[in-house]
């Protein structure tokens, strides 16, 4: 029904709302004297969570719009009180103008000291109460965005007690979109409420059905239990329809999860497809290149945090080239320092790079300590959006896109650039290439650098979904080798198809077998698959290969 556009919009509006709510000054037709309101506000501080809940109720009952920012600040956990006097205040963190200000009058209260200030504590149930309260109080707000968010909050709670308020809001509402949300909320309340008439309930079913997805299914399933017999068939058929949709979407959801897991595998493996697949270096330090990429992201973000916090949303864009260059250079250094002495001895490279991986891990641990480092998600990579019945998280979405971009870019580089041509020439016939004037040492270094640089890029992306610690690489190395070998060594397309196949297979097995058994099954399947095709998915046929 409403489609993706609508839901994405909702998502965006929702995100902007908290900010706007804080900034929007609601015109104050004070029904309460400042002093009275202050008493109510100050009552928020003392006592237990239960007392605080009562205090919130009283504040809401006042109906005074000036209470809204106070409640919002409390919801944010930024409302403070003065330990000595018990006065509830705003601080600069809570959006007060001065250092410390009065939440009702806005007066400057800088005679209070920060040290005496204590947070007014909220817990989850209090947050729920606050959200409902704010929703209630802002349902008639003049700002459409505030109203929309209020309507959504009412829809979430669907408290029959708010029916009257909701009805008046619906009749006053002019915005179609907001009105629809309110009507949906009303329908849900109807289905919930034991007092609602059969007609009201019957009328509510299609409205709820139109919400679609899991929420509608839940509402209807819950309603079915208490529904009068007359409307049971209506609800049941609605449920059946939704469940059918759901089952179809679940398959799609699994495919998406699989693609997303596959893209992570692809990112982790693609650098290895170069260093191992193309050059034949059994590069056990590949995971450490990924890890260095992730730490580069950390360092870039730290610098940005300290020097230019405004650029934070650009941190990844800055980290990508930085990580590529840094890990690429490390790769070149490794190639020049160690690998080049080992060409033609592929298994020796395993030992040397394993040793290297230990050294790199330990070095990173010495520099950054063993603790997990914080790498933040930029705002555009946080949260999720809905596409029909699919819930897609932004970070996974971007990682899928990013993985495919890296893949395509790599293909293009190998196919169409001079360096790519040289790389293929050298790896296919070193002597011939060198006699044709290609500087093979340079090409070797560049190839290894490219593979390592791509691993660094993967590190930037993977830092967004996992943790950044010296062991990060170890978690990906085995999977990466599986992917490259499964796909067929030396074939980039094999790596792509291999990664996606393993990802999707994993996600279809997981719901039945569980995560642990699922992984075991995948490994056994890989072993059996290699028996069938001893050179991977995309093996070349012909006699030259088998020599």
């Amino acid at each position: 029904m409403t489609g993706a556009g609508m839901t994405i919009l909702k998502h965006l509006i929702g995100a902007m709302l908290l900010l706007s709510a804080l900034l929007t000054a609601i015109p104050a037709h004070a029904q309460f004297a400042d002093a009275d309101l202050t008493t109510l506000v100050d009552a928020l501080a003392p006592g237990s969570f239960k007392d605080r809940e009562t205090a919130i109720g009283n504040l809401v009952a006042s109906g005074d719009p000036r209470a809204v920012p106070v409640l919002e600040t409390l919801l944010e956990g930024e409302l403070y009180f003065d330990e000595t006097g018990g006065k509830v205040v705003f601080t600069s963190a809570s959006g007060g103008k001065g250092a410390i200000s009065d939440p009702v009058t806005g007066a400057d209260l800088s005679d209070l000291t920060e040290a005496d200030l204590e947070k007014v504590k909220v817990n989850n149930s209090l947050r729920r109460v606050l959200r409902t309260a704010i929703g209630q109080m802002t349902l008639l707000s003049e700002d459409a965005r505030v109203r929309l968010s209020a309507a959504q909050s009412v829809l979430r709670d669907a408290d029959p007690a708010q029916l009257e308020l909701l009805d008046s809001a619906i009749s006053a509402e002019t915005d179609v979109r907001i009105k629809r949300v309110m009507e949906q909320a009303r329908a849900v309340i109807m289905l919930k409420s034991p007092e609602a008439s059969v007609e009201d309930k019957t009328a509510a079913v299609p409205v709820v059905l139109a919400i679609g997805g899991r929420d509608a299914l839940n509402t209807l399933t819950t309603a079915l239990a208490s529904a009068p017999d007359e409307i049971r068939p209506t609800i049941e058929s609605a449920i059946d329809g939704l469940a059918r949709d759901r089952a179809a979407w679940d398959v799609a959801q699994n495919v998406w999860f699989g693609v997303s897991l596959g893209s992570v595998l692809l990112l982790a493996a693609i650098g290895l497809a170069i260093t191992f697949g193309v050059m034949g270096v059994i590069n056990m330090a590949h995971g450490e290149m990924v890890m260095l990429g992730a730490y580069t992201t950390f360092v870039v973000q730290e610098i940005i945090r300290q020097n230019a916090p405004g650029l934070f949303d650009w941190s990844l864009a800055i980290a990508l080239p930085a990580a590529f260059l840094f890990t690429g250079l490390v790769g070149v250094a490794i190639e020049r320092g160690i690998i080049r002495f080992l060409y033609g001895r592929p298994l020796e490279t395993l030992l040397a790079t394993w040793g290297l991986s230990l050294i790199i891990q330990q070095a990173v641990q010495r520099i950054f300590t063993a603790n997990i480092r914080e790498v933040g998600n930029p705002s555009w990579m946080s949260g999720s959006f809905e596409l029909g019945g699919l819930a897609i998280t932004w970070n996974r979405f971007y990682i899928v896109i990013f993985a495919l971009l890296v893949f395509v870019a790599l293909l293009l580089v190998l196919k169409y650039t001079a360096i790519g041509l040289h790389m293929r020439a050298v790896t296919q016939n070193r002597r011939m290439a060198s006699s044709m004037g290609i500087r093979t040492p340079l090409v070797d270094a560049m190839t290894f650098g490219l593979g390592s640089g791509i691993a660094g890029l993967a590190g930037v992306a993977l830092s967004q979904i996992g943790n950044v610690s010296p062991n990060l690489g170890q978690g990906y190395i085995i999977d990466s080798f599986m992917v490259v070998v499964f796909g067929g060594v030396g074939n980039l397309w094999g790596t792509l198809v291999g990664a996606l196949t393993l990802g999707i297979a994993n996600k279809f097995i997981e719901p039945y077998a569980g995560a642990v058994l699922g992984k075991i099954i995948i490994l056994v399947l890989i072993i059996l698959f290699i028996q069938r095709r001893p050179r991977g998915l995309f093996a070349l046929k012909g006699r030259s290969i088998e020599a």
Binding site: Q253, Q365, I465, Q474
Partner: protein, 435 residues
Amino acid sequence: MTVGNRMIAGLGLGVAMTMGAIAVPAVAQDETIKVGVLHSLSGTMAISETTLKDTMLFLIDEQNKKGGLLGKQLEAVVVDPASDWPLFAEKARELIEVNGVAAVFGCWTSSSRKSVLPVFEELNSILFYPVQYEGEESQRNVFYTGAAPNQQAIPAVDYLMENEGVERWVLAGTDYVYPQTTNKILEQYLLDHGVAAEDIMINYTPFGHSDWQTIVSDIKTFGSTGKKTAVVSTINGDANVPFYKELANQGVMAEDIPVVAFSVGEEELAGFDTTPLVGHLAAWNYFQSVDTPENEAFISAWQTFMGNPDKVTNDPMEATVIGFNLWVQAVEKAGTTDTDAVLDAIIGLETPNLTGGIAKMLPNHHLTKPVLIGEIQADGQFEVVSESELVPGDAWSDFLPESKMIEADWTAPISCGNYNTETKTCGGSEVAAVQ
């Protein structure tokens, strides 16, 4: 000489050299009291354990500033068991036999503790184990200064039932012994409290699991039946960061489906932005945010020692501190570091918790601890929303049929770790053999 015997000669020389290398320190001087620190400094557990190594160095440094112990300076002997469980046993043996340490502070995982238990028993030394664990154990030579299940899991579930009205439960954990046991206990506890079997979902994931899409999505589905749902997470260390990131991104809000974790502390939260996770919970016996003078003093001394004003503290650190303080007191009381004397002296000793209240060493080698429930804040700290009275640690869970009749009491006349109150005997004769 053939290649063979040259090499063999070399081998013999190598072995001899090692013997020398390891054996020499055995004839050690006695001007200091040595304390063993057995925490992984490399491998997968280094993330968690290096901090505890630093904590020990800090505590020993502080104690030496106060004049040491029994007039001698303390000396830390640090080894790296490298997250390798059999190596823990080897290193424990080395600490006790070669370095002659008076006590060992160490281990994190249950596997590592299980691996060293026989060593401490055989060589009759002392281990202070500072991490919350699954219980079902009480060994003569081990002091469990972290939480037993009744000091963490059960109070957390109680809190959710009472304050959040949770009726439907997801028990999600890493597939190893601690979560398995804890979940077993919790499942029984929930069933006893009238939760229907279909309202409990149990899910296990491998170590270091990084792809949480399916599971978080399943949790959302499970939690959307209208009944209030909560997740009890016994997910291990480094799998938590991707788990919470996925929770945040899939929009699982604490107000809808709160997640209460037993293995997530300040250190783990330092790994990501917690803004979207505000309100999710953790149950511990210590939070850095707890506002007591002891804690404040500890944190600032620690941060000064580490030279990093942002260094966080966490629960296993506090457990290490308490264990260390109790050991120091016991040695002072006994006037010697002799194992048997210290084992006797330490029972009943008390030291203040950093979070208030008194930690008392019980006859079952566990402590009294307050249980704190904290909500995650946007700054990566926890806000305490509930604090219990002091709870005595119970080695043997009362919610498992096999262990409810077992008690541990290391004081006379029982003096055993698994006294069966029904048969009035000690279960394993290992204990009898030692005594």
